[in-house]
Structure formats: structure tokens, C-alpha cells
């Protein structure tokens, strides 16, 4: 028995380096953020009072929630169409479709935001093409506003939506679909009455994932919003770096973490994060 316990100790020692690193260099700085929100500028809850009294704080939260909900809805819709196609594809072509999802997933978020600026800005390629073909007379304002942010964010989030949905769709027994067809159901009925309900767990998981990733998104909104449309993450950065208001910045960071962890806790049974990166290729 003592030998067995000794063996266990050996395995626990393997966990130790990661645990210490994570505690000292990840958890500690984050706990400090939470603590500062209650202690600066004076101890108390006055930073949190701003949630109810400050119009600018409320506006940032409202903007963030609106953009995140729109982004989640669009990413789910587009991602579902793509996942559906991939799930029902033949093995040979499936590999290529999955590549079309994985390559954008891993390409630098900066590169992608840069690509959208190139396309959408006033002298950008989209406006140029539309002007030259005479569709429009004046360049359209496609970026540095909420529209630009949503285009860029949906582009970033679609792969994250596809992977959990695809994982759950591939567990659907294809014979069920063939049977439904054989019994005379139309293609649409098969989809609406058989496929869609069976893929619902993946849809929920994808929705939760995209929503929580969108909430704290920094780079894409900062570049494509052009400083005019502020979302929570950029607002926090502004408070800390430019205005040196640690209390307010950390308060909003705390609210962000609480919102994300609450969302996850509510849907915890539907979301398996390991699956997201474990599946795929």
C-alpha cells in the first residue's frame, strides 16, 4: 500500500511544474486584477456603482452585447451551412473542406484584419470595384464602424462555430437520413425533422463558444472599429494605458470574466473545449 502511495506521488510530481507556473504566472496576475477592482482608487464598491450610474460604461456594454449577439447569430448560420456540407461530403472531398476551415482558423488574426482593411476601406478594393463598374457613385463607408467589426469578427468566428457543430453532426448515423428519405420524406423534411434536432447539441456548444470568445475580443474590433466603435476589451485597454484608471479598467475586466464564466457554467454540459481542438484535421 505504501509503495502504491509512493507511485502516486511520482505522478503528482509530474503535474507540479505546470501547476506552479500556472499559479504563479497566470492565476496570480488575474486575481490581482479582481482585487484592484475593489481597492482602487479607494477600497469599496464605487467602481461597480459606475455600472448603474455611468452612461459611457453602459454604452460600451450595450455595444459589446449587440455586436456579440449579431456576430454569434451570423457565425452560427454560416458555420452551420459549412458544417452541414462537410458532414455529408464524401471522404475524398471532406479533407479539402476541412482545410478551408482550419487554415483561416490558424492564420494570424492581425493578417486577417489587415486583409479586411485592404478590401473595405474608402479607397479599398471593394469600393474601387463598385465605383469602376458604376454600381455606386460615392465610396461606401464599409469599415471603421460596426459593420466592419461584424464582418471581421464573423470571419474570425466561423471556424470556431464549424468545429463543434461538425463533431456533433458526424455522430449522426447516416442511415437515419437514408431511412427517412426512403420512407418518402422530402430533403427539407429530413433536414428539419431529423438532422437539425440531432445536431442541436453541437449548435448550442458552438453558440456558447463563439459568444464567449466574442465578448473579450480585442484586435479585430480595435482595427476595424477605428477607435470610433468601442467594445469592452478595447475600452479596458484605453482605461489602463491612456487614462490610467485602474479601478474602472479592472472593474470591467472582472465583469467580463464573471460574464464568461457564468455563461460557461450555465451551458457547461453542452460545451467540451477539448473536443474543439482535439477534432478537426
Amino acid at each position: 500500500m505504501a509503495a502504491a502511495a509512493q507511485r502516486q506521488t511520482g505522478w503528482w510530481l509530474l503535474i507540479l511544474p505546470a501547476f506552479l507556473l500556472m499559479t504563479a504566472f497566470y492565476v496570480a496576475p488575474i486575481l490581482q486584477v479582481l482585487a484592484i477592482s475593489f481597492t482602487e482608487p479607494q477600497p469599496g464598491l464605487q467602481n461597480y456603482e459606475r455600472l448603474f450610474t455611468s452612461e459611457s460604461v453602459q454604452r460600451v456594454i450595450g455595444t459589446t452585447l449587440r455586436i456579440c449577439l449579431i456576430t454569434t447569430a451570423l457565425a452560427l448560420l454560416l458555420g452551420y451551412a459549412l458544417a452541414y456540407r462537410i458532414a455529408l461530403a464524401e471522404e475524398r472531398v471532406r479533407r479539402w473542406w476541412i482545410l478551408a476551415v482550419l487554415v483561416p482558423l490558424w492564420i494570424s488574426v492581425l493578417v486577417r484584419a489587415f486583409a479586411w482593411v485592404t478590401l473595405l476601406r474608402r479607397q479599398g478594393l471593394v469600393n474601387q470595384a463598385l465605383l469602376e463598374t458604376g454600381v455606386i457613385a460615392e465610396p461606401l463607408q464599409l469599415v471603421w464602424n460596426e459593420f466592419g467589426i461584424v464582418v471581421g469578427m464573423v470571419h474570425y468566428m466561423v471556424p470556431y462555430a464549424v468545429l463543434p457543430m461538425l463533431a456533433s453532426m458526424r455522430e449522426i448515423d447516416p442511415r437515419l437520413l437514408a431511412a427517412a428519405r426512403g420512407l418518402g420524406a422530402s430533403r427539407f423534411t429530413v433536414f428539419a425533422r431529423v438532422f437539425l434536432p440531432l445536431s442541436a447539441p453541437g449548435l448550442i456548444a458552438a453558440g456558447v463558444l463563439v459568444f464567449i470568445f466574442s465578448l473579450g475580443f480585442y484586435i479585430t474590433p480595435a482595427i476595424l472599429g477605428g477607435g470610433k466603435t468601442l467594445m469592452v476589451a478595447e475600452w479596458i485597454g484605453l482605461q489602463i494605458l491612456d487614462l490610467i484608471r485602474w479601478g474602472l479598467g479592472t472593474m470591467m475586466a472582472t465583469v467580463l470574466v464573471v460574464a464568461i464564466l457564468t455563461t460557461l457554467a450555465i451551458f457547461s454540459r453542452a460545451v467540451d473545449l477539448r473536443r474543439l481542438f482535439g477534432s478537426g484535421a
Partner: protein, 263 residues
């Protein structure tokens, strides 16, 4: 399979549109990077490599590329060593406590980098690690651990635990079991984790924006400044180089997975 249910025309068309939306904007950077003009545009009269030349002869860009590369190497080593050992320990003990440890290790994926970045800004100021190579390596290494844990745990799930018990039963020490039984079996999973941890550090911007300023000026940081200050075609050339680099790493990962899955 004959008679299998296939998507209808509308579903297929929509899927194609989504795939184009995902891939085209990234693809458009290639012709833009080859423009013969001095501003961000499609090539007008011919293709030109001058913007690549600008980047590849600039000491600033090359310096940032080198710095990003070494930071990524350092943080990948940190993440792979800590993450692999932790994943093996959790897998072998497999109790409620280790589920909690694993959940803790996934936090960096769940909590937004902005929250971590402002925390670290303050935390590192106290430790004298702001704007230091070591500071960025630690930050990227710690946030890279989840990627390693995920891939190594996936590899371990396919590993027969009786092999480990047999080795121990025949008197192998923990170290010998690790070295000769477990590690060779999960090597492809570790390699995948290393690739993702590397890409994570190589692309990371938000943390760097807060904890580095002058002495440490990584590639993403230079691109960020470029996008905000002067949008010139050299940026497109850098973007293409980055895309090529990422795609090569992904292909390497796919090749490794194929070897692992092969019987």
C-alpha cells in the same frame, strides 16, 4: 455509399459562399503584395517583388522576425515540457482533483487575453519583467500550455494503460516508463501541441502590447503599428510571408497526424 443523403443545391451553394468568404479575403493579399504601385492596391502594369525586398532588407522587420522566432521557441519549450508532464500525470491519476487541474490549465483559452494582459502589466512591473525577453517567454509559455494539454490528452486517450502497468510491474522506474514506454507513443501528439503553442506565441499581440514596449518589439507588434500608422504594400508582403509560414506548419501537423493514424 449508394443512396446516402447528400445536401441539396441550396445547401451546397451556401457552403461554397461561406468557404469563399473565409478564404478569399486572405487570398487577395497575395496580388496586393505583388503590386508595382507605392500604395496598397492591385498590380496595375506588372508584378513586382520590390515590397518583399523592402521587408527582407529592413533591419527593423528582420529584427522583429528574429525576436518573435526566439520568443516562440522559448515559450514552446516551456509549454511543451510543463504541459506534457501535466497531461501525463492527470491521465495516470485520473481523479476528480485532476479534472480540476485540467480545467485550471484550460483557463488561458477561456479568459480573454486583455484581462490577463492588464494583470500581467501590473504584476511584471513588480518583478522587473516588463519589456524583457524572459517576461514575454513566460507569458506566452503559460498561455501556450492549454494547447499542449489538449493535444497530448487526446493522444493519451488512445494509449493502452496496461502497457504502462506492465512496464512498472516489470520493475521499470517512473522515469524509465516515461522515457521508453509513454513518450514514444504520444510523440505525434506532443509535436502537434508544440506546433500550436509555437503558432500561439508567434501570433500573440494583446499581451505583448501591454508588457513590452521598446526592447522587445515582436513581429505582430510591428504589424499592429504598421496597420495603425501607414498602410503600405510592405505590410501585405509581411502578411503573405506569415500566411505561408502558418500553412507550412499546419501541413507539417497534418503529415504528423497522418503518420500517427496510420496502422
Amino acid at each position: 455509399m449508394e443512396g446516402a443523403h447528400r445536401p441539396g443545391g441550396a445547401a451546397k451553394g451556401l457552403a461554397w459562399l461561406v468557404a469563399l468568404y473565409l478564404v478569399l479575403p486572405i487570398g487577395i493579399i497575395l496580388p496586393v503584395s505583388l503590386t508595382d504601385q507605392r500604395f496598397l492596391s492591385l498590380p496595375q502594369e506588372g508584378l513586382s517583388l520590390r515590397h518583399y525586398a523592402t521587408v527582407l532588407t529592413s533591419t527593423e522587420w528582420l529584427g522583429s522576425i528574429a525576436q518573435s522566432f526566439w520568443i516562440a521557441v522559448g515559450s514552446t519549450i516551456l509549454a511543451v515540457v510543463a504541459g506534457t508532464l501535466c497531461a501525463i500525470g492527470c491521465w495516470r491519476i485520473s481523479r476528480r482533483a485532476t479534472d480540476l487541474v485540467r480545467a485550471l490549465m484550460l483557463l488561458p483559452i477561456i479568459i480573454p487575453s486583455i484581462v490577463y494582459a492588464i494583470g500581467l502589466y501590473r504584476y511584471f512591473a513588480g518583478l522587473g519583467l516588463l519589456d524583457r525577453f524572459l517576461g514575454v517567454v513566460i507569458a506566452h509559455g503559460v498561455t501556450g500550455i492549454p494547447y499542449v494539454i489538449i493535444t497530448v490528452s487526446t493522444a493519451l486517450a488512445a494509449f493502452d494503460p496496461r502497457l504502462e502497468q506492465a512496464a512498472r510491474g516489470m520493475g521499470a522506474s517512473l522515469w524509465q516508463t516515461l522515457r521508453w514506454v509513454i513518450l514514444p507513443r504520444i510523440a505525434p501528439g506532443i509535436a502537434s501541441g508544440a506546433i500550436f503553442a509555437f503558432i500561439h506565441s508567434w501570433d500573440e499581440l494583446v499581451i505583448v502590447l501591454f508588457i513590452a514596449s521598446r526592447d522587445v518589439f515582436t513581429l505582430p507588434r510591428r504589424i499592429w503599428d504598421g496597420i495603425n500608422e501607414n498602410l503600405d504594400p510592405a505590410m501585405a508582403a509581411v502578411a503573405v510571408l506569415l500566411i505561408v509560414f502558418t500553412v507550412l506548419l499546419l501541413l507539417l501537423d497534418m503529415a504528423l497526424r497522418r503518420r500517427r493514424d496510420a496502422p
